[in-house]
């Protein structure tokens, strides 16, 4: 029992020491500085780069005197696409760093719980990548989204393919949020618009490697369209294996927006040719603003063809700067709450912002999806060449009314 006493006494000591390590009572934050917390998925190589790009974009204003003379400090953290990490990060931003604004996240499963926290703590949050419709349906007055909501995405490719290719669709998707969301929305659109049921529908694990058994069944059904839902590696595998089992090229392959990520055409090789997907941006966009962005990313971040994860991270940083420029900020401990409200109102005042997105971005004050899903324009893209030197073409650009899909 003596030893019990000794070891028992170690526990509170360890706990206190450890708590000390978490950064003693929140050190007073520097007045006169705008603090922005960014949490996104950086466990992938591209994530590290677009995370750094967003940070660089925001902090770049410091070199020219800041925004209205105020410097920006960015705290960048990786949430690994895990909700508990995202929740920890946003708690840290709000309570430890006392940020004025939160940007994040990439994965919908991380952004969803973040919305509840930012709503409770009354901190503005802008979502750069997550597409899940519920994010803006929660009714939070503090959330804004730059990404195109999934309620728009499904219709971009579904309508185009139904009118130009055919309505007999086989669905093969993985069990991640992106895969399920893509397939369910496509199926729902086909049912409600054309009263057409899926020719084949199955889901597999996101870690599965061999999809041939399902693809052989799909081949025997002779569909017009093969709809592939999932993350980039699954899309690449399914696309490649669809040719291996002999599904002819005339069957149009359409995939979730993750198909815009570079690994898809690189991994799928020649099979990527003809693969169609809806996205928010293509590096083949010929507008000068888009080409200037592509050039900047190529030179600074060594990415040959930045996808919409890059463009949306960049766009979100621009919107933040725009809002910060419009907000009257006190930037003291006492004005923190008022500053957060001012930034939220400034974000809500953004109308018809024309940036990298294919259409204008507009927010408004009501805490509804109509007001907070700022980007309502999706594009349809087709790979014209696979492999390392892949290429793509813009097929269509579709803008929606604010209440579409609600």
């Amino acid at each position: 029992m003596n030893r019990f006493v000794k070891r028992a006494s170690l526990a509170p000591i360890a706990a206190l020491l450890s708590l000390g390590m978490t950064g003693a009572p929140a050190a007073a934050q520097q007045d006169g500085v705008i603090r922005v917390g960014i949490t996104i998925r950086m466990i992938v190589e591209n994530g590290l780069r677009y995370g750094q790009m967003a940070k660089d974009e925001l902090e770049a204003v410091n070199a020219t005197g800041g925004i209205n003379g105020k410097k920006i400090e960015v705290i960048l953290l990786d949430d690994e696409c895990k909700p508990d990490k995202g929740v920890a990060n946003v708690n840290r931003f709000i309570h430890q760093h006392k940020v004025h604004l939160v940007m994040g996240s990439t994965c919908s499963s991380v952004s969803l719980p973040m919305v509840d926290i930012t709503a409770k703590e009354e901190v503005p949050q802008i979502v750069p990548h997550s597409t899940n419709a519920s994010i803006t349906k929660k009714g939070s007055a503090w959330v804004f989204r730059t990404a195109v909501s999934e309620r728009f995405y499904a219709s971009v490719h579904a309508k185009y393919l139904a009118e130009n290719v055919g309505k007999k669709v086989a669905y093969l998707f993985t069990t991640d949020g992106a895969g399920i969301g893509f397939a369910k929305d496509y199926i729902s659109f086909m049912r409600s618009t054309y009263n057409v049921e899926p020719a084949y529908e199955t889901q597999m694990q996101e870690t599965d490697l061999d999809f041939r058994s399902h693809l052989l069944k799909i081949k025997s059904l002779n569909p017009d369209v093969l709809a592939i839902g999932g993350q980039s590696d699954a899309i690449a595998r399914i696309t490649q294996q669809s040719y291996e089992v002999g599904i002819p090229a005339r069957v149009r392959r359409v995939a979730a927006s993750a198909a815009s990520n570079a690994p898809v055409p690189e991994l799928a090789g020649d099979a990527a040719k003809g693969l169609t997907f809806a996205a928010a941006f293509t590096c083949k966009d010929e507008r000068p603003i888009a080409q200037a962005f592509v050039k900047m990313v190529q030179e600074k971040y060594k990415i040959r063809c930045p996808d919409h994860d890059f463009s949306q991270a960049y766009e979100t940083a621009q919107l933040i700067k725009l809002a910060l420029g419009r907000a009257a900020l006190g930037l003291t401990e006492a004005t923190l709450k008022a500053d957060r409200t001012a930034i939220r109102d400034a974000l809500a005042s953004i109308k018809d912002y024309n940036g990298l997105a294919s259409g204008p971005i507009s927010f408004c004050a009501d805490p509804t999806p109509q007001c907070r899903d700022g980007n309502r324009t999706g594009i349809l893209v087709e790979y014209t060449k696979g492999g390392k030197d892949y290429d793509m073409a813009l097929l269509a650009r579709v803008s929606f009314a604010a209440d579409f899909g609600l």
């Binding site: 030893r3 006493v5 070891r7 929140a26 990490k85 309570h95 949020g177 399920i180």
Partner: protein
């Protein structure tokens, strides 16, 4: 494994000093004092983030102490413990949201459901040992995560939302400080029962099974029964921790939080603290939670730091912090005996 004996648990050890006097009043008294001492912890100049980390730390303590029962006491190599946590979390969430149970009813319900699942996960241990049992429990663990990720009523891969916090009357315990007063007493109760189990007949049977199942059976220990009891007791802790995870603000669950990575993290807590050492498990849980938190800033190197800690722990302190403490105590006692003999001579 055989070396990982918790000498604290020796019921023959005579109590001494202040603690002995407290134990003499009632064995629960030191724990009540511990509870009182821990009460003001969140009030000690901590912000809400540190309170959040403190809650996560205490939930990890419950998990590590629970895993120690099946792994440290009974010597069963399981890597399915995280699946039991998921079962506890989702059971509690379903009880609260679909059946309308308050947290105070959802928590014990989730613990019972998880205990039943623990019994099922324990069945393979009748015939399997070591790496084979690890593989079987790994498969069971992964299948739980996969089933959740494809079950729409459980939120599938989008996540399970809107799990209510505990209420005291009309007061919601949804703040991190308030939640501490739910988590901390449960962690202390868990620790108390862990010591009680270890000192009981069941604890001695566990150790007999761990050291040599065949010899234990020869001396009349029902090996199967005690293996299942170990898994069930361990599952009760996992269910409790899972339920606490589910009801902590913002009340959101996702299968991505119950992967092999989380299981390895949990194992690290137990290994780092010292397999079979209850206090070691507590220290392991605290230290690993802090490492997790402190490496967040170094996201590019996080996995490298984490992996290095595991490798160095296994290489240089395979018996964990608990083992080091044991070694220190044994050395000190040896020196004292030698000094006494020298003086006597």
């Amino acid at each position: 494994m055989s070396a990982a004996v918790d000498k604290d648990a020796n019921p023959e050890s005579p109590p001494a000093g202040l603690l002995a006097r407290l134990v003499a009043i009632h064995p629960v008294v030191p724990w009540v004092i511990g509870f009182v001492l821990l009460l003001p912890l969140p009030l000690l100049t901590m912000n809400a983030y540190q309170q959040y980390i403190l809650n996560v730390m205490l939930i990890n303590v419950i998990l590590a102490v629970g895993l120690n029962i099946v792994k440290g006491f009974a010597g069963q190599v399981t890597v399915g413990h995280i699946a039991l946590t998921a079962i506890g979390a989702y059971s509690s969430a379903v009880c609260a949201t679909k059946l309308g149970m308050p947290f105070w009813l959802a928590l014990p319900s989730a613990m019972l459901i998880t205990a039943a699942a623990g019994a099922m996960i324990g069945i393979p241990s009748f015939r399997l040992e070591g790496a084979y049992l690890a593989l079987a429990t790994l498969g069971l663990g992964e299948s739980v995560r996969i089933v959740i990720s494809v079950t729409e009523p459980l939120g599938a891969s989008i996540g399970y939302e809107n799990i209510p916090p505990p209420f005291l009357g009309s007061f919601a315990l949804d703040g991190h400080r308030a939640y501490y007063y739910v988590v901390m007493p449960l962690a202390l109760i868990g620790l108390y029962f862990s010591f009680s189990i270890l000192r009981s007949d069941i604890g001695r049977a566990f150790k007999a099974v761990r050291e040599d199942a065949l010899a234990a059976a020869a001396t009349g220990v029902n090996v199967r029964k005690y293996k299942v009891i170990a898994f069930v007791l361990s599952a009760l802790y996992a269910g409790c921790a899972g339920s606490l995870q589910a009801h902590m603000h913002p009340g959101f669950l996702h299968p991505n939080n119950y992967t092999l990575t989380e299981m390895v993290t949990l194992l690290l807590m137990v290994v780092f603290g010292g397999i079979g050492h209850i206090w070691g498990g507590v220290i392991g849980a605290v230290v690993v939670t802090i490492i997790n938190e402190r490496t967040a800033d170094y996201y590019e190197y996080r996995m490298l730091i984490y992996g290095s800690i595991i490798v160095f722990t296994v290489m240089f302190m395979p018996r964990g912090i608990g083992g080091i403490i044991d070694q220190y105590i044994v050395k000190k006692r040896f020196l004292a005996i030698r000094r006494a003999r020298t003086n006597a001579a």
